[in-house]
Symmetry: C2
Subunit: 128 residues, 2 copies
Amino acid sequence: MKKPENSINNKSACRAIEYKSEIVPIMDALYVINGKWRIPITLALMEGNKRFSELQKEVHKITSKVLAHELKEMELNGFIEKKTNAQSRARTEYQLTAYSWSLEAIIKSLRDFGIQHRNKIRNEALAK
Amino acid sequence: MKKPENSINNKSACRAIEYKSEIVPIMDALYVINGKWRIPITLALMEGNKRFSELQKEVHKITSKVLAHELKEMELNGFIEKKTNAQSRARTEYQLTAYSWSLEAIIKSLRDFGIQHRNKIRNEALAK
DNA sequence: CAGGATCCATTATGATACTG
DNA sequence: CAGTATCATAATGGATCCTG
């Protein structure tokens, strides 16, 4: 997913102002939650700090390559912190930042929609 | 983004039950809102029915190929309906289904987060 | 254990042109 | 106007192996 553009120099038609004012932050949000992994990783870390291998077990089917990449990006974006014990590398833990918790509303709305969606699909299947 | 798997046969450890019960609907939701375009298209159509070329103008930088593809998928998933006038192809319009409106909570939470996120980034830039 | 490196397959996006 | 077709690139994901 490409980086969203800044809207500051965007001179768009007036009739679209309401729409444009919505779309920019929404594209921003879609950009930071990017892909299938960020939210699941965040959710796993909401249970508590986790080590790399724990995350790998709990985030279904993620590979070490992808996990490492996602963790780096999330760290860069200020969503997690890496706690490396100076004495032993083996104790590295990942921890959510306070900022990550501001994703809770998104996560809840996703979950609610997903539950409803799954029911809809199931009912449609039963109706056949 | 790959299709999420059904969880029905998933025999996971008990300690992960709470987490697992969250993750499945969330993955479902992430799957249906898939990528950068579905939400922006939905938003544009929340203003009213639109024609293909109108959508292309309003959804920033989407190409006709991608737009055509997204519209097909969204139609298949029951989010939009295609209204084709039998006499003239040129009058084809796209319309949201009632189901699409159930995405509103997600859209709002994305927008709120996005606004906050943008402020955070701006403040960090100013602080330097 | 925590990743990085490599190779490869698939998907997503994009530019441009074209058609009924 | 509403898309398709073609070509190209980038992003993502998976498999496997490697290393401090």
